[in-house]
Amino acid sequence: MSRHSRRIIGRGRVNFGRTLRFRFDGAEYVGHEGDTLTSALLANGVWLAGRSFKYHRRRGFYAAGAEETNALVEVRGMDGLRAPNRPASELRLYDGMEAFSQNCSPSLRYDIGALRGSLFAPFLGAGFYYKTFMGPTRKGWRFYEHMIRRAAGMGRLSEDVMDHAQHESANLFTDVLVIGSGPAGLAAAGAAAASGARVTLVERDFAAGGSLLGERGGSQADIWRRRILSFLEESENVRIFLRTECFGAYDGNCFGMVERLREAGESGAGSRSRLWRVRARRVILASGALERPLVCEGNDLPGVVLSSAARLWLTRWGVLPERRIVIAANNDSAWETAEELAFAGMEVGAKITLLDARREGAGSERLQRLRMRGVEIHLGYVPIAVRGGRRVKGLLAAPFDADANIVVLDNDNDNDNDGDGDDGAGSNGGGDSAGEGGTDEGTTNEGAVKESAEAMETDNGVGDTAGKVAGKTRYFAADMVCLSGGLDPNLRLWSQRGLSPRYDEKIAAFVPGDEMPPGWEVVGGARGTFSRGEAIKEGRRAAEAAVGSRAASFGADDDNGGALADIFTIDDGDELARGGWRVAPCPLWLSRGGEDAFSRRAFVDLSGDVTVKDMAIAVREGYNQPEHAKRYTTAGMGADQGKTSGTNAAGILSLFAKRKMERLGTARPPYTPVEIASLAGAEVGRHFRPVRRSPLHDVHLREGVQWIESGEWMRARYYPASPQESVEAGYVRESAAVRGGVGMTDVSTLGKILVQGADAEKFLERVYVNNIASLKSGRVRYGVMLRDDGMVFDDGTLTRTKDGGFWITTTTANAGAVLQRLEFLHQAEWRDLEVFLTSVSDSWAGIAVAGRESLSVVSSVFADDDIASLPHMGALEVLYGGEFARVHRMSFSGERAYEVFVAAHFGVSLWERLREAGSERGIVPYGLEALDALRVEKGHITVSEIDGRVTLADLRFEGMLRRKSGLAVGVPLGRRAGLTDGDRPCLTGLRPLGAGQRIESGSVLFGMDGEMSGHGEGWVSSACYSGECGGYIALGFLSRARAREGEEVRCFNPVGRSVVVARVVSPCFVDSEGERMR
């Protein structure tokens, strides 16, 4: 067959002027701009697209949109990266696309997995894995699991991790969000736009129009689509997103959308996708309806397609893949498809046969029209089985009694009938159609209809009151079988908001209930309105309601409005308004009687290989709650998340379990799978978290710093004296310099919060356990905050500023959390207090100068005489560079020390001047490690000690409380017996007995007697080498530590099985009287 003979000249919306080359499984093909991978491969006569999940059955192209569950392919980019499981129908063809089939080995045609699949199929019924693989020993499962895992999975991931593609994210606020650009969505967007409201129209396809794209180019419907689109494109208040998936509906009318800027594997500049977080005042859901198939045997063979797909392939892409086509349906939509196919097919001599389960079909008018077009129509026929081996050869159909469409599975009688002759041939290759279909090979357009002499099973299952085959079966040779089991309103987004749809018998589908999320309207096909004229009206009405008083009259005084008025002038008799359903569909979940009538090849869910028999097993075993049936059989859990299978599975469940129709499972985001990279957005690699740098960053670089990442911060770890100097040697040297003379370090990363307002003092009194009222201006106080439950939350300092406010500092790690907590307390608990909280962390640079020479260094930089007389815990507001600066005399290291804060932009100059001033005294910059060692020597605590599980008393801070009259957060609950128990481990110092011995942080503490197992009597929280002590020291928590000073304990590392015996000492290792810092 020549390459393009499957294209119908003059049909479709592809640009035949532009040719695109692409490869599938290594073979080169040609397509055109506007093609999808599906349409391009079909035009090239390729049907086989992949292998199925469980049984490795051959699968072809099945759908034209989001509901494609069969043709999942891997796309490989120029960079060699694989993008697995992409539906071919969703891949817009680009030049150089390289796609591969999946789940087959060694090749798509000859797949060893298929043999395995058919061999074991009888044992692989629903839930089989729950019933076996439990022996011979309890370790057995690991062995089976290994094999199961290898068999499962679909696509493959690249092992190469370098993915350089960029993705971005953005926020959007809109008055009216219209989801879907079919007739109802376009109408809604148009009407809303006319009011001047900000309108956002979202369409997941790369072309706007929805079902209108299924209309012939040049038809009235097509012209309408183009007119309203150009109106929207010209309206400045309308933003149209194409190729944008609105994947999730969240609380507060927040939506997640992903805009695809390039296809998987497509090279190009800029971001590949954009994640939008949208907040909408009003939402109009116009997501249309999806066609579902009919369930019959062999309904997964390549060549079996949704009838809506066949129509779109023709009208959008000009592809009529086959010439002998049988359409089996139960509703009017398929008749429109038949008409379209016949219209195009006449030119190329295609033979269209239409079977409808309904005796009256879609009414006499349509019947006549279709017959005139040469469509062969058989009313009252349902498909029984699709025949064929490697692909479709024909369809076996039988007359159908639609009057009482109830099929009953009777558990007690289920062995009564075993007459299903089809079951014998279990092989995947099939070929069981030989009897009927064999001679049809090679016949062309005759559409050979054969009366099958073979009487099918006369009755299937006792109690099978209807849905039964009545009379003789007929066989129709065909190269493509289109199935249409009805339309399902697409309510995924609506359901994501926790709402359950209601089953509407009139259209045999689930429709939205009366409850709507606030601000929502559902219009058009999504609410079960399948008439185009009605859908347009609904869209318009919903938009006018949404914009309310802003609704514009489409008057002649407004150019735009005039144009729109014209667009909305549609007569009921117009071709545009026609279409839709005239005759009710006939609900048809199973075309034949009970379970027995089906072999293991009647698929309910193609993507999970779930069969009618699986559903029967689930029901028989009692998994007949919809969610149980779903999970037990995995129906609706595959690639399409039940888009094609959900309603059929619900119908089959209702028949088998004798339940009313209930939706299967819950709708969960996303609507269709969303690439994970899009969700991660730009938070990749170095940008995973923002890097926070101190204002002194560049100075540290000049000082030859070794960095350490501490949360988001880049902090100076130490400043190696030589490239060989180790971390430990470095911090020992730096701490010695501080103890011996003077050092300086960057403390800019501390959290800094300005607390202002008339009630600032009252507020802080409630927050800190310390007495705040007695804090005088010009003084600094160490402060501790508790959590509600009495545990220590954070520590820091408070300074009363001259204007009556407070300047507080927090630990670096908790800067954000403290502000958040203070805001919470203010906004939620004490709204009556006049307090203003401002984070000023980034506005100030801070440098601590520590050591007995610190005064001379600081005072040579600041001319202020008061510095010399500044007492310990005194604060001074001075000027630096003409701006306010703060000098606090306080000490973390235990030496006399000053913390100097200046405006961030002066940080570098301050560092340099202090460095200069201290140079003759041998000032040394010190990093985080020395800072830590110095404070451990002094017994000061950090987040290593404040781990959320310690009380004030555990830290030996109970004295703070005694000096306070009022109550602070956490104090009442802190008085509980368990928190004041004297046996609780409390802060202690530890010194190893042996010289040079080292205590590891995390070690478990045990007394000298007894076995070392269990939780011990405490633990080690921090450890370091102390130059001052001439050995390793540690801080930890030990039960009754105060009374045990001088005792010996064992510090146990259970991983290394090592023990260090240490003496319990005061946590303050140096200058316990505090003379140095005063």
């Binding site: 894995y129 076996t132 699991e145 009692g622």
Partner: protein, 415 residues
Amino acid sequence: MQRYSAFSLVRHALSEHKHWRRAWRSPAPKPRYDAIIVGGGGHGLGTAYYLARHHNLKNIAVLERGWIGGGNTGRNTTIIRSNYLQEESQGLYELARKMWETLSQELNYNVMFSPRGVLNLCHDEHELKGLRRRVFANQARGVRGEFLTPREVKQFCPPMRVDCPRLPVVGASLQRNAGTARHDAVAWGYARAADRLGVDIIENCTVNGFDIRDGAVRGVRTTRGDIAAPKVALVPAGHAGVLANLAGFRLPIESRPLQALVSEPVKPCLDTVVMSGAIHGYVSQSDKGELVIGGGADSYNGYSQRGSPHVLAGSIAAVCHLFPQFRRLRMLRSWGGVVDIAPDASAILSAAPVGGIYVNCGWGTGGFKATPGSAFAFAHLVAKGEPHLKGRAFTLARFATGRLIDEHSAAAVAH
């Protein structure tokens, strides 16, 4: 009961699977039971099973508002580990972990416990310190744990990137005998085994009131009628507070949405469980091939089984940080569960202030792993009125006495 085995599977396959019997009955509620368990998740069904199995209480019922296993049992990321810090938690979680090892055989239902190892990653020195303390504490108390250097992490889990340009992996703890299990199977397995022992499992039965007289419970009011029972055990996870309210007492529980997601199935690409508290993401690969990804809870309270999109995106970014190759996969489905969090982030297994009522809740973000242990200890409490040795610290009274079991370090130790 029909026994499940490879042999039975073959036998049934030969008869077209037509002779499988119901996994559990669907009885109408009786007017009276010796005990009622409210909540048909894994913990509730397990409680029923152990009550019947070990305490000879057979006239009991499990009442489930929807379908069994439809709450957090069916909505979690199936991770099982016991490397907690506090002694009490270690005891209970390790009991559970050991029970997981033989649960399939015990229930004759394959719950697919897969001890593939759980890695807890550290991204900075401070975190490493906390980790060291936890591993030491675990090891000293007989819970398996070891340290891994970044290089060993890479060896153990080759697909993972440890030298990330930001927040690299600086170390990890590994519990080798931890792993995952199949969540639905746990509910169904317990249901089937309990049913076999005579327990009535009653679905679509909402409890909307309690019959309480003289400070003691006499029964419950449900949408399927009043049912009398001298003992009522509440195992309602996220809705614990709602039920307690109906019974006239309050629980120190906050309920919040916690989200998870799965990708499309792919061939095996990750053989262990990877968790990172600091960057808030964890991931494993299900036997079907889907990557199962979880993250942090939403910061506000609510009963909606959905969360906020930015929380989900954060977890995804975290996982992609460690596994850049996962970026090309697609998210197939995401969902939320309502987690019940106690002030100290530990569970409550306790008698309630109303006589005859017992509560099992507060499992927060980590209840699945505890299922067998929780159920076992709770059954003991319900049957004897006295706590089981491993569960005795988990009383409601601890919030009054302050003898907390704080597993909440993240609340104070920011990263």
